[in-house]
């Protein structure tokens, strides 16, 4: 490392006079035993890194902080998170980005890509054999127990030919660079590889931090890869009106964020198992327009959960009949169910030997050296050289160092212990060479430090065969220890830049245009998404109604104290919603808001990130306020602040949401809840028996003080209040206005009117509106209002019955 010192301290010394320059490479000392991505064995910066390092050197320490801050801000703003499980709880964690990308030279990448494409071919061929003739087992190349005893080998899939002709469409490989500088495969990801969406987010964030160098250097863009894969999935449809969807286990999954992100990015519907049904051999999605066929499903859940009827009966996230549809080639599953078997660790011991039989080639890229301990020769080999061996379950999947407690270093056992363990449990064990990884720079407290890294590289099957994403997802170890164990303790993610010597073409996700433009039909809205949007509308409106009522109450508490007949009249309304009026920011209010966030979280693919951030921020603010706000004036001011934030969210949704079924259900939810709230409030506050001040409170909560003053020169009477808050169609808060709005929205829903004949919901809605439109302040007594409220409540049941089941 001496020469690095020489080169870089030279620069450092020159910069020393200016004070706060970035410290550069001084102090960057990779371990001798492993290669480093940034510097070569002599400590010289590798050529493809030079421009990037030069850029860092041009920054002051302060500029560097600002640069990385831009990346962090992006991640924060777009709400990138992953879910962490532990201690029986799961929590959302901010995304741990290491800001310095991993740079790889194009020529090296091309060689690597070719080898990975070969491996993808091999895995496809093995998959076809394992679920077909099983030649590899029958001919003795693969031990039968690794297949027959493997929980990922799904027997019901044996003999089912994939509709597309291929089992695998999207795979990933974990690779690392060994001590000799060559790459090897650490693990195959074929079940439902995650990380491609996070790679995109890493890219956006990293390019924010280093925008100039990213723009000036020839870094391969990622969009082309996604566009080609999207086009490939679209091409698997039966016809132009067919659908492609992404199947997620749901918001509690650790990578749900990514599922929603990819769905939005590629323009595919995000569905859960309960959205789907099988009808006469075809997979269908339950939508508000009825069952609609789905031709291609990109699943992000483990295969065994896909069908509780024929696979894991415990699965609550699957679709009964999925296997039946696959048997009849009623859909293309990406990847075919059962592809998880290819991830089996013990297979790595056999893949090099299987390659000539399956694809007539030898493997171009080795995988991590693996011995299946079910064989006598293999056990002898492990016993002969135990020092560098790690033992783990033969049928385990994933990286050998990822699951703490799963692996044992053979060196930690005596020869007798090792021999006994192999003899007793050999067929269930694999021995693998302990992994050491190359190091790459990470920014730690303003300085670059070498950290071990592995890459996840993604491959997609397209019309032109397997394509490799020019980039990837780098995992950076949490400590400088280059043995892979450092990866166990968390760590960071980083972007991967493939550095071309030539200019790279600019690409975008937008499709190439061929032929005349044709506006595509908006996708069908899954019933579950509609249900969540409807309830999101209701919860948000309920929150707003409660906030208004609470604010009015707290203003009066500040003016007249808590124990007045008026407040005694109002409080039962709040209590009815589970809200304790005595609390400043009541927990019941926060629960309603959390329910809104929960509903929104189920349909994150249908929201702009801005709207989502606004809603999440609203909930966070309310929680924060709840800790310190006291009842009375303090609470009234805090509630006003919440009201403004609510208006912000509503504005983002109202101004930006595409006016289709999703928006309609959200709107109906809001209108419905507002109608119910207004009817209930008028029943209490406009009742002839209501205490003094009730009518003024109603006008205030109804946000109609100015209008009332302008329209009626007289003081508030029951007639003026009922006229303005119940009957006036021009007042956007009146009951009539909500009912009119609901009628308009409901008449625009699918199936409400068939050649003029209304559905049950349509008829009930129209009668309700007519009833409302023909009332007068005199006729709209408290009893009639209450009856109206119940009729409106009944509309929700009819809507649910017709669309949301």
């Amino acid at each position: 490392m001496d020469s690095t010192e020489a080169v870089k301290t030279g620069q450092g010394a020159a910069d020393a006079g200016k004070g706060a320059r970035f410290a550069g490479l001084s102090g960057y000392h990779p371990p001798e035993s492993v290669p480093d991505e940034l510097v070569d064995a002599d400590g010289k910066v590798r050529p493809h890194w030079q421009p990037f390092i030069d850029h860092l050197h041009d920054l002051t320490a302060e500029e560097l902080v600002r640069a990385t801050g831009r990346a962090d801000q992006y991640l924060l703003d777009s709400g990138v998170f992953y879910r962490q499980y532990g201690l029986g709880q799961s929590t959302e964690r901010p995304w741990p980005l290491s800001h310095v990308p991993v740079l790889i030279d194009q020529e090296e990448w091309d060689r690597l890509s070719a080898a990975l494409v070969q491996r993808a071919h091999l895995l496809e061929a093995l998959m076809a054999d394992l679920y077909g003739p099983n030649r590899m087992v029958t001919e003795g190349h693969l031990p039968p127990s690794l297949v027959a005893g493997n929980p990922e080998w799904l027997r019901p899939m044996v003999g089912i030919e994939p509709a597309s002709g291929h089992h695998l469409h999207f795979v990933a490989f974990e690779i690392g660079r060994g001590p000799d500088g060559k790459w090897w495969v650490l693990a195959d990801r074929t079940q439902a590889p995650s990380g491609a969406g996070f790679a995109l987010e890493n890219r956006v964030a990293t390019s924010r931090a280093f925008s100039t160098v990213f723009a000036e250097q020839n870094v391969h863009r990622l969009a082309g890869f996604f566009r080609e894969f999207r086009d490939a999935l679209l091409a698997l449809r039966r016809d132009r009106d067919g659908r492609v969807a992404i199947l997620t286990p749901g918001p509690l999954n650790e990578t749900y964020y990514e599922h929603a992100y990819i769905a939005r990015y590629l323009g595919f519907t995000l569905v859960q198992g309960e959205d789907l049904a099988v009808d006469r051999g075809r997979l269908m999605v339950r939508t508000v327009s009825g069952l609609r066929p789905l031709d291609v499903l990109w699943r992000r859940l483990d295969g065994s959960y896909a069908d509780p009827l024929e696979l894991n009966p415990q699965s609550r996230i699957g679709t009964p009949g999925m296997l039946s549809a696959l048997r009849r080639q009623g859909l293309t599953m990406v990847n075919a169910l059962g592809s998880g078997v290819l991830e089996t660790r013990a297979l790595m011991a056999f893949l090099p030997k299987l390659a000539p039989h399956l694809i007539g080639q030898t493997l171009a890229l080795p995988n991590i050296a693996t011995w299946w301990c079910g064989g006598a020769a293999e056990r002898a080999a492990v016993l002969a050289a135990p020092k560098r061996m790690v033992l783990s379950p033969a049928l385990g999947t994933g990286l050998p160092f990822d699951k703490a407690g799963e692996t044992t270093a053979a060196a930690g056992l005596t020869a007798a212990e090792l021999a006994a363990r192999l003899a007793a449990d050999g067929p269930n064990l694999v021995a693998q060479e302990a992994v050491t990884l190359s190091t790459t720079p990470m920014l730690v407290k303003g300085k670059l430090e070498p950290r071990p890294m592995s890459l996840r590289v993604f491959l997609a099957r397209t019309g032109d065969g397997w394509q490799v994403m020019p980039g990837g997802f780098a995992r950076i170890g949490a400590s400088p220890d280059p043995t892979a164990l450092a990866m166990q303790r968390g760590g960071n993610a980083a972007d991967v830049w493939i550095m071309s010597r030539d200019e790279v073409p600019a690409v975008s996700i937008l499709p190439k245009t061929t032929g005349p433009y044709r506006r595509s039909a908006p996708g069908a809205l899954p019933s579950r998404a509609a249900d969540n949007l409807f309830w999101l509308g209701r919860y948000v409106e309920r929150t707003e109604g409660m906030v208004r009522l609470l604010r009015a109450r707290n203003i009066r508490v500040a003016e007249t104290g808590p124990a007045t007949p008026l407040l005694e009249t109002v409080d039962p309304i709040l209590l009815g919603y589970g809200i304790d009026p005595e609390e400043g920011i009541p927990q019941g209010l926060i629960a309603t808001l959390s329910a809104a966030v929960g509903s929104a979280g189920q349909v994150r693919d249908r929201f702009s990130p801005d709207a989502w951030s606004a809603l999440a921020d609203l909930e966070k603010s309310a929680r924060r306020m709840a800790q310190r706000v006291t009842p009375g004036d303090d609470a009234a001011r805090a509630l006003s602040a919440l009201l403004r934030k609510l208006a912000g969210f509503s504005g983002l949704v109202h101004e930006n949401m595409y006016r289709f079924f999703g928006w309609r259900f959200l709107s109906i939810g809001r209108l419905h809840e507002r109608a119910m709230g207004m009817a209930e409030m008028l029943c209490v506050l406009a009742d002839p028996e209501a205490p003094p001040g009730a009518l003024d409170l109603a006008i205030e909560v109804g946000d109609s003080i100015l209008t009332h003053r302008r329209r009626f020169t007289v003081a508030a009477s029951r007639e003026t209040v009922v006229d303005l808050l119940a009957l006036d169609p021009m007042n956007p808060r009146s009951l009539r206005h909500q009912v009119d709005g609901m009628l308009e929205q409901i008449l625009a829903l699918p199936g409400v009117s068939t050649y003029g004949e209304l559905s049950e919901l349509g008829r009930a809605m129209l009668r309700c509106q007519a009833e409302m439109a023909t009332q007068t302040p005199e006729s709209l007594s408290t009893e009639v209002l209450e009856a109206m409220r119940l009729r409106i409540a009944g509309l929700s049941d009819l809507l649910t019955e017709a669309y949301l089941r």
Partner: protein
């Protein structure tokens, strides 16, 4: 050869109308070359399914698949079939010593439905159980060949267990039934399978039917009025699979009609279904298997 008239019904009642449901029925007797043949059959499902199919599963069992319309309040399947069954003959014991079986398993090539490899390890419903393993080792201490092992373990389980239809449910783990020493054919079979696997003998779960009335002068067999279960064990390359019924303490002859094999009950459950039910459901099975009198009865 014996000819049987089989009539079986499965009947479910639902408290509340269900959403649409999909059911799999594994009730059709198998066609096994030289052993069993279905010459006629009829399946009736009520109410009329939206769609009815059938397919063979991995282990070769015929599965009837029915997609039911929504709003079900009851579901009824009636199967009538005429089945020819050839009694297996008792042969000489050419099975290897138990200690030699592992090598024969290893030498078996392929993982088709009949391969022993599927049946050596624990399965979803039969995880290993120390008490069953220990009991089995003790019971078979004197058994040399694999066939002797099967017979001695079957006899020991039959002696230790009491047939009791009230003691267990369809989901009762074999360890629990064994601890109570009570259960029905499913429990007897799953306990014996766990024991054989612990002894290194590949063992499968066999599901099917028993003749309702015994031949003249013979005792009526246990488990004849519902679906029955027994054990299939792999006894080496030469003799292959043998079948033993621990509930009735006998090797399987001509009184058993096979539906299918699996690793345990879950692979050959007579009814698998997902109903979107909120309320409860109740169900019953009924089986009649009558030997055809007057039908040709080949000697031997």
């Amino acid at each position: 050869m014996t000819v049987y008239d089989l009539r079986m019904t499965v009947h479910y009642d639902f408290d509340r109308p269900t959403g649409s449901g999909r059911q799999l029925f594994r009730v059709m007797p198998a066609d096994v070359a030289g052993v069993q043949r279905v010459t006629q059959f009829e399946v009736a499902i009520h109410p009329e399914p939206v769609e009815q199919l059938s397919f063979a599963d991995f282990f070769g069992t015929q599965v009837i698949e029915a997609a039911m319309p929504p709003g079900l309040t009851e579901l009824k399947l009636t199967l009538t079939a005429v089945v020819e069954r050839k009694a297996s003959e008792d042969g000489l014991d050419f099975t290897p010593a138990r200690a030699a079986l592992a090598d024969e398993i290893d030498a078996y090539e392929g993982i088709g439905a009949d391969a022993p490899h599927h049946f050596v390890l624990a399965s979803p419903r039969i995880p290993g159980d120390a008490a069953i393993s220990e009991f089995s080792r003790a019971a078979c201490a004197g058994a040399v060949t694999v066939q002797e092992t099967v017979a001695q373990l079957g006899e020991a389980i039959h002696a230790a267990m009491t047939f009791d239809a009230e003691a267990t449910e369809v989901d009762t783990p074999p360890a629990e039934a064994f601890a109570a020493r009570r259960g029905v054919c499913q429990d007897f079979a799953q306990i014996m399978i766990g024991g054989l696997r612990a002894l290194g003998v590949p063992a499968a779960y066999a599901a099917g039917y028993l003749r309702t009335e015994p031949p003249p002068g013979m005792k009526r067999l246990e488990g004849a009025d519902a679906m029955h279960a027994w054990v299939r064990a792999w006894t080496g390359t030469r003799m292959g699979w043998v079948e033993y019924d621990p509930t009735n303490r006998c090797f399987v002859g001509g009184d058993h009609l096979i539906v299918g094999y699996g690793r345990d009950y879950s692979d050959v459950a007579p009814v698998t279904g997902i109903m979107r039910v909120d309320g409860g459901q109740s169900g019953s099975h009924h089986v009649d298997i009558i030997e055809r009198t007057g039908a040709a009865r080949t000697p031997g």
